[in-house]
Symmetry: C2
DNA sequence: AATTGGTTCTGAACCGTTACCGTCACCGCA
DNA sequence: TGCGGTGACGGTAACGGTTCAGAACCAATT
């Protein structure tokens, strides 16, 4: 005979007070303001609590009353595993977690169902503020976050009126990198980038798709490249840009292959992330192309493995970015006006970029 | 003149009801049970909400009444960065996050201040349950979690009466590995392990420290090795075990160095994690020792990089472990008795283990 | 005409706590 | 003896919702 298990409701502050013959206020004070009652009574309260199995004030009820949840919400891009496997995102997450930990705040990962456009989870999250990390510009979850009456910090996204922001200057950073390649003599380049929109497009990305990209970071980096090459008369529309939906070095390799197959005259591959660049390096190796003699390859982010293999890239301070987001959210600002933090990037010379071979060298070998 | 900023309190469900001239129940229903009121009225409610800037029912208040927080708490080992840089921990985290996402539950990282023994954060977390991942057996935070009247799942920790558990059979898995080395002929081995207790001890770990280790996983793995080598008459007390507090390949390298310096006759280094083993490989390379001809090196975990370099190791399904923990916590069990899930491990042959050179070979070369 | 059933909305209780202010006893001091 | 100050505790009203039993109304059935 199935018998429903009798779950004894845990004792409440009120029941404890009744048992002790004191007021609820006093019990509350025993936990929250020890100086407000005599040590003797406090001892009795806590001891009785132990005896009755009272686990202490209910966190949710407390939050309701004090108007503090003690946690910050984090909204990540649609696909969770995507973030967990991207070293840059992970660094940001670690930095944010550290900042929260330092402030004694929990970090609440908001569940975003990739299937349905279910914004409810954003409304259900009991948090004191939100950090939004690199979601598409038109993400309904972002809109939902902004509709909540709590402070918000956005990272790696375009500025939104009245919202704090942290990020780097993606455009300028990659323009610098492009200028180095231009100075080396590269004119015929190919570009590998991450996905530009929510829909999958594993292949060439025409200019209008680039310009309408939903992901701010990718859009800005491509824009920075276009600007740099425009200065030497390279028409951007003629530069092949290959997009990959999944972010992995395998995808970087396949994108590199697609580019090299489409134009054997390319002298450099510019990748908008290190992960992709590592794949491009692997593809070059597979083809027997020497880097940098036969092909220049560059990345972006400055992840550990890139540094290990000497990739020419741009380092961005991902850990600091996360910490800064946390500080921005948790610091007791006067909130007089939205603050914006732009962190510095650093060009890493590496060993995967060099002057292109001349035409003769290309045809007859060195 | 400093003037305190006037923060307009956001509209409440009650104020919205008053504005509309309906009851609070009706407004609540407009959000939670659309079938309970006429479409026309519902439309009016939502429209007025938009006009008044009402962000929808307050999540904390709702949680209080419904007794559901919509999130699970995760208690990680003391040092957050430690977890974020350990691929095994990261895999677990990803799996857990995926399980939560699938169930529409948030994942609340409990802030654990490494400095103070501040258990308050555990009590402050508004969650429906906890997952505790590989904390020291005597961690006060674990005790605090168990005192909360919510379901709990522990991972990679010894069984606790009445608490669900997920893990692998560390002892048996590493015993298998040890037996392979024994079969190859190894008798003189050194062991590199992660920290065994809260206090830092970068150096040799005597047997009693091993047996009293606070970290279940490390304790069990060492025990498994001892059991295996006992079968061939190798006295465990004579086996050098070097411990490192920080978990990094650099530490693995230095530990390997310490072992090789202390006994040049060692034919194999068994490491209790892949990260440490990768460091040991680096150290062997630095010394000009060929692996596996001159030295056998093994790891544990089966992280991606280990597989790339062909490390002989044991793979454990970390992602699955995280998912299983989530399922265990979120599945509507009858909770008739605590459940325990032990996942399978797999021996990876790799290319870093071989028979030791004979004495002659050692002295005169091959 | 009375009963039934369905839809739509309401009233009051409740979730478990903390904030705010008030009360009261006790003490030292003039 | 009266008085202000202080330490210890209590009462009441939020905090912002959800739940559940039922009221009011109307149409259809018996």
């Amino acid at each position: 005979m199935a018998r429903s298990i009798h779950v004894r409701r845990p004792a409440t502050l009120a029941s404890l007070a009744a048992e002790l013959g004191v007021s609820r206020t006093t019990v509350s004070n025993a936990y929250n303001r020890p100086d407000q009652l005599s040590p003797e009574l406090r001892r009795r309260v806590l001891e009785t609590a132990r005896r009755l199995g009272y686990p202490g004030p209910d966190p949710v009820a407390r939050s309701l009353r004090t108007r503090k949840a003690g946690a910050v919400g984090l909204l990540l891009t649609e696909n969770l595993s995507y973030a967990f496997r991207d070293p840059a995102a992970l660094g940001f997450l670690e930095g944010l977690a550290l900042a929260c930990e330092g402030a004694g705040q929990g970090l609440h990962l908001v569940p975003v169902n990739p299937e349905r456009e279910d914004v409810a989870a954003v409304h259900r999250a009991g948090v004191d503020g939100f950090v939004v990390y690199s979601v598409p510009d038109d993400d309904p979850h972002l809109a939902a976050v902004l509709s909540r009456p709590v402070p918000t910090v956005i990272a790696d996204q375009p500025h939104i009126e009245g919202v704090d922001r942290v990020g780097i200057d993606d455009g300028t950073a990659i323009t610098e990198l492009a200028k180095k390649l231009i100075a080396l003599g590269h004119r015929r380049i190919g570009v590998v980038c991450m996905r530009l929109a929510r829909d999958r497009n594993d292949g060439f990305a025409p200019v209008d798709r680039q310009q309408n990209a939903h992901f701010h970071v990718q859009r800005t980096r491509l824009g920075g490249l276009a600007a740099a090459f425009a200065t030497v008369g390279v028409e951007w529309a003629s530069v092949p840009v290959v997009e990959r939906f999944d972010h992995s070095s395998a995808m970087g390799a396949s994108a590199a292959a697609q580019l090299l197959d489409s134009d054997s005259q390319l002298t450099a591959l510019i990748c908008t992330s290190d992960i992709l660049a590592l794949g491009a390096l692997a593809e070059a190796r597979r083809r027997g192309l020497r880097v940098p003699q036969d092909l220049t390859v560059t990345g972006f982010d400055g992840i550990a493995e890139a540094e290990r293999v000497g990739l020419t890239t741009v380092r961005q301070p991902v850990l600091e970015k996360g910490k800064a987001a946390g500080r921005l959210l948790l610091s007791p600002s006067e909130r007089t006006r939205p603050r914006s933090i732009t962190l510095e990037t650093e060009f890493l010379t590496g060993t995967t970029a060099a002057a292109p071979r001349t035409a003769e060298e290309r045809w007859f070998g060195p």
